[in-house]
């Protein structure tokens, strides 16, 4: 009886071991598609807390985006993580005698499903969440020189990807659009000074966001050209933002060209042999 039990145990152990090995060999490689970009272009800004005038100028920014197929269903789902910091320098219109600066930092995370529509053409759709913080600065306003901005929003993101090969050069075009639908954002009241907030009156500073009072739509189109392991990216981004709270209107419209480099890489994991034959599933 003991011998039978021992035999069954050994067989079960072997089966489990074989099953784990099979699962491991099927566990695909999910390389990270990582891009570093410089953005530069034009910016139109209005922030009525500081001034009722419109300002025009330039914007420059640095951004990083990384994408990876998701572990639970790598064939069909991907996630994106992005960060961007940018500066806008704008002049009052029409006098052009005063400079308004804007500094902003944003982080977002998105999860999207992908559908291969035809050969080379992929549709993406999902959702994202974004946190951003920034400040407008108008130096000549002695007592109200700055307007702080902060928000956390969620909304849908969708896109289209098209991959072709021109001669020996693989090309991937991607277009993404996103728009926050809800969230929260910071705004002082109509004539509320930051001094009053400093004194401790923090009521009503956090507002609920919906497209009627916090509208933003980002459109980005990029073309990735793969040269061996390095990918060159060029593109264009259009961002439209408008918010209104307590009769304070903030508007930012920017058009930027994007230049960047990207790479697709896989972190070496101790549990896998680097020589192991495994499927590779790219994010896009």
């Amino acid at each position: 009886m003991c011998r039978i039990s021992a035999l069954i145990s050994v067989c079960l152990g072997l089966l489990c071991s074989l099953s784990l090995t099979a699962q491991k060999s099927e566990d695909p490689v999910r390389p990270i598609y990582s891009a570093y970009m410089v953005e530069a272009g034009s910016s139109h800004v209005a922030e009525t807390y500081l001034s009722p005038l419109h300002y025009d100028g330039w914007t420059v920014g640095l951004s990083h985006r990384r994408a990876q197929a998701m572990r639970f269903d790598p064939e069909n789902w991907l996630m994106e993580l992005g960060g961007r910091v940018h500066v806008d320098r704008t002049l009052a219109r029409p006098a052009r005698n005063v400079v308004e600066w804007r500094l902003a930092l944003e982080l977002d995370w998105a999860m999207m499903h992908k559908w291969l529509l035809t050969k080379g053409l992929t549709l993406y759709a999902g959702g994202f969440t974004r946190a951003d913080a920034g400040v407008f600065y108008l130096s000549r306003n002695g007592n109200n020189p700055a307007a702080a901005k902060a928000s956390w929003t969620i909304g849908p993101r969708a896109g289209l990807g098209y991959a072709i090969r021109i001669g020996k050069l693989p090309l991937a075009f991607r277009y993404f659009v996103d728009m926050p639908l809800t969230g929260i954002f910071f705004s002082p009241a109509y004539g509320e000074l930051y001094y009053e907030i400093y004194l401790g009156n923090r009521s009503g500073l956090v507002r609920g966001a919906w497209p009627g009072n916090f509208f933003r739509i980002d459109n980005t189109i990029t073309a990735d050209m793969r040269f061996n392991s390095t990918i060159l990216r060029v593109g264009y981004a259009s961002r439209v933002f408008s918010s209104k709270a307590s009769d304070i209107v903030t508007r930012v419209v920017s058009h930027s060209f994007i230049f960047g480099v990207a790479q697709e890489w896989q972190a070496v994991n101790g549990s896998h042999s680097t020589t192991e034959a495994r499927r590779i599933i790219s994010a896009y």
């Binding site: 001034s51 009722p52 009052a92 000549r140 000074l193 009053e196 497209p211 509208f215 408008s242």
Partner: protein, 334 residues
Amino acid sequence: MKKLISFALLAIMGACHGIPSWDNDIEGNFNALWTILDQHYCFFDYKGLDWDAIGKEYRAQIKPDMEASEFFDVCSSMLDRLEDGHVNLSSPFAVSYYRKWWSDYPQNFDWRLIQEHYLEFDYTTGGGLSYKVLPQNVGYVRYDSFASSMGASFLDAMFLNLKECPGLIIDVRNNGGGDVTRVEQLVSRFLEDPIAAGAICHKTGPGHNDFSEPYTFYYEPEKNHVRWLRKVVVLTNRSTFSAANQFVAIMKSLPRVTIVGDRTGGGDGMPFSSSLPCGWSVRFSASPVYDPSGKLTEWGVEPSEGCRVDMDPDEALRGKDTILDFAVSLLAEK
């Protein structure tokens, strides 16, 4: 589906939040100036001003082809009607000032006279503060601007150097204000317990009476530093303005503090700035600040009862500051 379409339409409309705009001509700039004040200035009702009528009166004086300097003069005259030292119109060639809050009254201060005849040009200075022990064993501290910094260590050293004096004079005559956070820094040196130092409110919309509920703010004693808990006399004149006016209003509410001199110049509204299409900027009072008793001090803080004193010009010629002498007589040991 209808709801979805309505939602989508509202979302698109959200991208078009309106921002007022004016033409960059004489009329457009006048309308911009008038509207900015109309929607943001905080003392229309307190001062009994009919801004519509004032606008009509000065709109009649503008002409499409007038020179920028002429237009500036019309706008400055209109702003003078607000009788507010916090209101300025800034252009590349001039800045408007309303001066009557001090120009129609005796100056009641001569720093040279004090330095020569009371301090004998021998006193300690640091930041915006100057001090000395007067011959009557009364401490004298001059603070000329709340825009000037006060180091905590300097304040500690100053109070320690004056520790043999039974009373202290703080002279804020001609102190035109500055950084209001320094009011708290200085007042906290005279507190035994936390106090309700005042209240502030703000405009909640463009209507003349769209105000938030006043928010009471508190000052704490500066327990980690040297404090002065003996008698204090604060000297004031009509040029004691803005943050200095607020300092006097709060000090007046403390026990052991007497206000001596003339009524302060006021300047009770926290200022705000905005811009005109032509590039000029305008500053104005936007948030009223209430004193500890809940009153506005836009027209100034009165001296303590029986302590309204002017400088006697004849005595001044003999090197006497009659306001300072009055304060010394209140504090000097009998």
